[in-house]
Amino acid sequence: MDTEMITLEIDGQSVSVPAGTTIFEAAKTAGIDIPNLCYLKELGPYGACGVCVVEVENCPKMLRACSAKVAPGMVVHTKSEKALATRKLALELLMGDHDGDCQGPCKLNCPAHTDCQKYVKEIAEGRFADAVATVKETFPLPAAIGRVCPHPCEKACRRNLVEQPISIAQLKYFAADQVRKDGNEHPIKVAAPTGKKVGIIGGGPAGLTAAFKLAQWGHMVAVYDQMPEMGGMLRYGIPEYRLPKAILKAETDAIEALGVNFINNFKIGRDADFAKFRSWFDAVIVANGAWKSTAMRVKGEDLKGVWGGIDFLRAVVTGEKPDIGERVAIVGGGNTAMDACRTAVRVGAKEVFVVYRRTRKEMPAEDVEITEAEEEGVKFKFLYAPDEILGKDGKVCGMRLQVMELGEPDERGRRKPVPVPGKFEEIALDSVIAAIGQRNDPEGFADLPQTPKGTIAADEGNFSTTLPGVFACGDTVNKGAGIAIGAIAQANEAALAVNAYLRGGEYRPVKPILSERNLTEKDFEDRPRIARAVMPQRPAEERKHDFKEVNLGLSVEAAQAEAKRCLECGCHDFEDCKLIRYANLVQADTQRLRGDFHPGFTEQKLVTIERNQRKCVLCNLCVRVCAEQAKQGLLGLVGRGFKTVIKPEFQNPAATAVCKDCHLCADNCPTGALKIIG
């Protein structure tokens, strides 16, 4: 028997389908995918989610596309204002009741959104090469960054609510070291050449990351740097005892091995002017960092024996053996100050002071750095500001310090230091190192627009500049010097923008919509407490005399045990989750309709399937496939209204016996509510 064909219009397209077809299936034939959460073709429509609603002309009611049948001459709008509003409301209601983390707080708080949870798990499972590959999806320097990163991820780590965060950064460099030792790193795939040329100024973490990405996408990339080696501040700022040059070198070599052209000892503005440089390439990224020490602006600054912090550090690295004498004061409280004071100890100074105008609490340097400096004999002078550098014969002989006290909090909530009138102190010194900040050097880049601060002005989203084809990122742009992973984050965006630009498009990042849980210590009360791994270190008395690495690295056992502490906060199903995909599609506001959450619990196991009620959207697919496809009928709905949940007959041991462990339920779950474990 011939089935009658029906012609209708969907989103302006004419569609012909056999009578009895649903609007959903008809739209599919026209290439229109109507969002749906509870529909499965084999099971037929169910009608729970209301996400598939469409508007049909001359029909007063909204129709569910999954079940409504086509009719001749029907005019269907799948994206009319009303259909979108109803669909969006369903998704906002679901998101407002969704107590799940799409991604772990670690990943969300890493400026570059490195997939920490994933590589931590890989390390836990002993898959170290996989872990390195995971990091390299984001940036090329796991061993280096793992050593130096102030790890904002760890500050956000949920394990803080149990006892202490996962040692995410140390695990990262553990894996990189291990893979380097084992020589089993996964090769990195490079796409077919595009024939496009990109020139990058600066071989610091920003420039290297952008080069690494662009090379993988098939572009011809050249990195130009004024210094003899690549690495930027990681090499010429951060001292050897924190990050051995050989380790950094191995990672930069790997970038070169991808086909990136490294050109060192080449300074833009000296060896070529910027305009000329631009003309050699289809696109340019300026990532020249912040290489000028900020002046203290006090009398005596031009005396011999006064150093800029980064200049002193670079001199040590390049083997200039700077003569700083026996008594040295470092002015400043940041990481540069810490590196400078500990380096001063190592180059032979007998007495090293850090002069800081606030107290220890306000110091921007990492706490461990301060502690380690103290262990190495550095003396801290808090609440002092340099007033004048005293000289004798054109050489530093001391410093007069203004005594300070803490006043009103500033806009960031840090109490402002104010001078105590008339109170001064003098100390005798051989040299003074000013580590109060660094900024970019605009020389040679006059064509590029600047911010009022003097940094290069770049778009905060895609890091383009006003010059076509010129992008800028890292310490040199906008807010200026920050941390390496921040520069890397920008470089990733800039690389995407360059890639789009080279292909004739424009890249605009969109902030993804995510579900995030709001948890407190209380939520983890019943978790067993497991101590965080302790990093073995060389004793202060030994390490302060040389530049060998202070930290000795985690053992394989310690690293794996540490990685196993991870709570695996992010959803295992994030990539495949239909709920979050549609929430992004309709730009659902996840907070607007927040209220109580429906009752939620985990830990119900049916053989190898774990159910997390908090992420369940009650699409009922698991119940239906279990009954109709697996022919088991082990699941059912319990309760009414908002308190409705799906319950397997888990209390009944017979249910576990009957469950065939076919995973049909988990495979069909549109969210991450069902997880296959073991």
Binding site: G47, A48, C49, K82, T86, L89, L93, L593, G641, F642
Partner: protein, 581 residues
């Protein structure tokens, strides 16, 4: 003489059985006739006893207590009814019945529901006899002429549903009576089953014959034990009389009716959820189409009607569809039964012809507001319906006219509210009901009603935010559009109508943390009027949090920071010194 006791659920609850037992104890010699009947519908006057002389009602006695038993017995025995004068129904109260037109309730409170002969004596089972001689098509045509529409809430033309089921392809067809009556405060269907079960059975037989169904179910709310018992008795009696089962009255037509006790959820009254429940599944609505007429019980063609709908059928067959259609308006024919409750002087069951106004019912029949209060609004259709304010009291009882106000005809719930009712709180109450009764299947209803309830709760607690009303409206419209079944689609009605007519009350709660009706507990302020306070210390002793202080014989004061607004003090004070603001 014969004493007939009104023994519907409400009469029994008021003590009718105890009074009857007391009379029967005295009546060991059987000098006086004693009988029962169902519910006459004047709940506020129960227990009611009717005195019959021969076949005629000579006196209706109301609020008869056990103490009255000797007098009752004596009077009935001697025929001297004068001593019973103080129990006699007042002229005012008689009006309550006199102003009604009873079709669906035609026998309620008049015949013995447990005696099939009593039903047959009032032309019972004549209609089915007449129908068995007609073609099913003619029966449907007669119902079409009557204009009867479904009384379960949706008001869909009954003939159309019957016709669809008749024309649907299928060997086995089913007829279902929806007696789930889940609307809180409604009891029309209960009254019909308890008081006149045979008229339901007869109506169902006629429908079964018309559509070609040989199996029928009555899905009765589980909380109606008396209705179930009476219906069981009636079914047994009908079966014995050859009116039910195989080859009814030798016509060749067979039909069996079975009772199924409901699952105790409001949504099970929704027809497709009811069918799921009948099939032994969790009561959750199915997608429509397919409609039950096509794929109903066990996927077979099924027709489902409400009790009241069926209760009209035999009357229509006997009196003709035209007689039914003669009553009412252009769009609504016949009569409708309402359960009039709330702050009304005379509450109970009211059956009136369509087309009367709300004012006719509330003031004419119901006698207006109780305790001298002022009318504020009437909620029609329970949790699925809406409220209608004072200025629309002249709206006609008509599907269309009521719909235009934002309310609905509904199944018959009519709750009258006076000035002490907070409309926001009332909306919150209904949303609490629907949110809890949502079956949980669809997103808009399951989560949407919960969020609406949360917002309404915060408003009644004085924690509402600017924009909450707009958010509620958005949710209302979205839920109406997105919910799968009638429960969700109508749940927003109480909120939409209270916003439409009483927006100022919402604003007062949100902007001034004030409840104009002084009903919302969290917004109440208890203060002592020093002029009235005698310093008796009673309130201070009662206050559970020790918020009241003062010395004996001196005016007391309430510490507002301690007060938890429990209202104990106001209830305790004998001098009316506690002012609630």
């Amino acid at each position: 003489m014969k004493l007939v006791f009104g023994e519907g659920s409400c009469g029994i609850a008021a003590g009718a059985r105890k009074v009857r037992a007391a009379v029967e104890k005295l009546n060991a010699d059987g000098a006086v006739g004693v009988g029962i009947t169902g519910c006459i519908g004047m709940c506020y006057l129960e227990p009611i006893v009717d005195v019959y002389d021969g076949g005629t009602l000579v006196k209706r006695l109301v609020k008869v207590d056990e103490a009255a038993a000797p007098a009752l017995y004596e009077a009935a025995k001697t025929g001297d009814l004068a001593p019973l004068a103080k129990y006699e129904i007042s002229a005012d109260d008689r009006e309550f019945l006199e102003k009604q037109t009873r079709i669906a309730l035609r026998h309620c409170g008049l015949i013995d529901p447990e005696d099939i002969a009593a039903y047959e004596a009032v032309d019972g089972y004549k209609a089915i006899r007449k129908v068995l001689a007609m073609t099913p098509e003619d029966v449907i045509a007669e119902i079409k002429v009557s204009g009867l529409a479904g009384r379960g809430g949706a008001g869909f033309p009954t003939w159309f549903k019957w016709n669809a089921a008749r024309n649907a392809k299928g060997e086995q067809k089913y007829l279902i009576c929806n007696a789930d009556e889940g609307d809180p405060g409604a009891f029309m269907d209960r009254a019909v089953i308890e008081s006149d079960p045979h008229s339901l059975i007869e109506g169902m037989l006629i429908a079964a014959y018309a559509i070609g169904a040989t199996k029928a179910f009555v899905y009765v709310r589980a909380e109606y034990p008396l209705a179930i018992v009476r219906l069981e008795k009636a079914l047994a009696a009908a079966k014995k009389a050859g009116l039910l089962g195989e080859n009814i009255l030798g016509s060749g037509f067979s039909c069996d009716i079975r009772i199924k006790a409901g699952a105790g959820a409001f949504v099970c009254g929704e027809e497709t959820a009811l069918i799921e429940s009948l099939e032994g599944n969790r009561g959750m609505p199915r997608l429509k189409p397919p409609f039950p007429a096509e794929k109903g019980y066990t996927q077979a063609p099924s027709n489902i009607n409400n009790v009241e709908t069926f209760a009209n059928v035999a009357w229509i067959i006997l009196n003709g569809g035209a007689a039914f259609a003669a009553m009412g308006t252009e769009t609504s024919k016949g009569t409708k039964v309402f359960a009039l409750t709330g702050k009304i002087k005379r509450g109970g069951l009211v059956e009136i012809p369509m087309g009367l106004t709300l004012r006719d019912v509330i003031f004419g029949i119901g006698g207006g507001i109780r305790d001298g209060g002022t009318f504020k609004a009437v909620q029609m259709g329970g949790p699925s319906g809406g409220c209608i304010p004072e200025h629309l009291l002249d709206t006609k009882i008509d599907y269309k006219a009521l719909g235009a106000t934002g309310a609905i005809m509904g199944s018959g719930g009519m709750v009258v509210m006076d000035s002490h009712t907070c409309m926001v709180n009332m909306a919150r109450f209904f949303l609490d009901f629907t949110a809890k009764e949502s079956c949980g299947k669809c997103v808009h209803c399951r989560i949407g009603t919960k969020r609406m309830h949360e917002i309404l709760t915060r408003i009644t607690e004085g924690k509402g935010k600017e924009g909450d009303v707009e958010l509620l409206q958005e949710l209302c419209n979205g839920i109406k559009a997105g919910a799968l079944c009638g429960l969700g689609q109508t749940a927003p009605n109480p909120v939409l109508t209270t916003i439409r007519y009483f927006r100022d009350e919402y604003d007062a709660h949100i902007r001034e943390a004030r409840c104009p009706a002084h009903e919302c507990a969290a917004l109440k302020k208890y203060e002592i009027d020093p002029a009235k306070c005698k310093g008796c210390t009673m309130c201070a002793k009662k206050c559970p949090v020790g918020a009241i202080t003062g010395t004996v014989k001196q005016p007391h004061v309430i510490d507002q920071s301690k007060c938890i607004k429990c209202g104990q003090c106001a209830a305790t004070c004998k001098f009316g010194a506690i002012v609630v603001g």
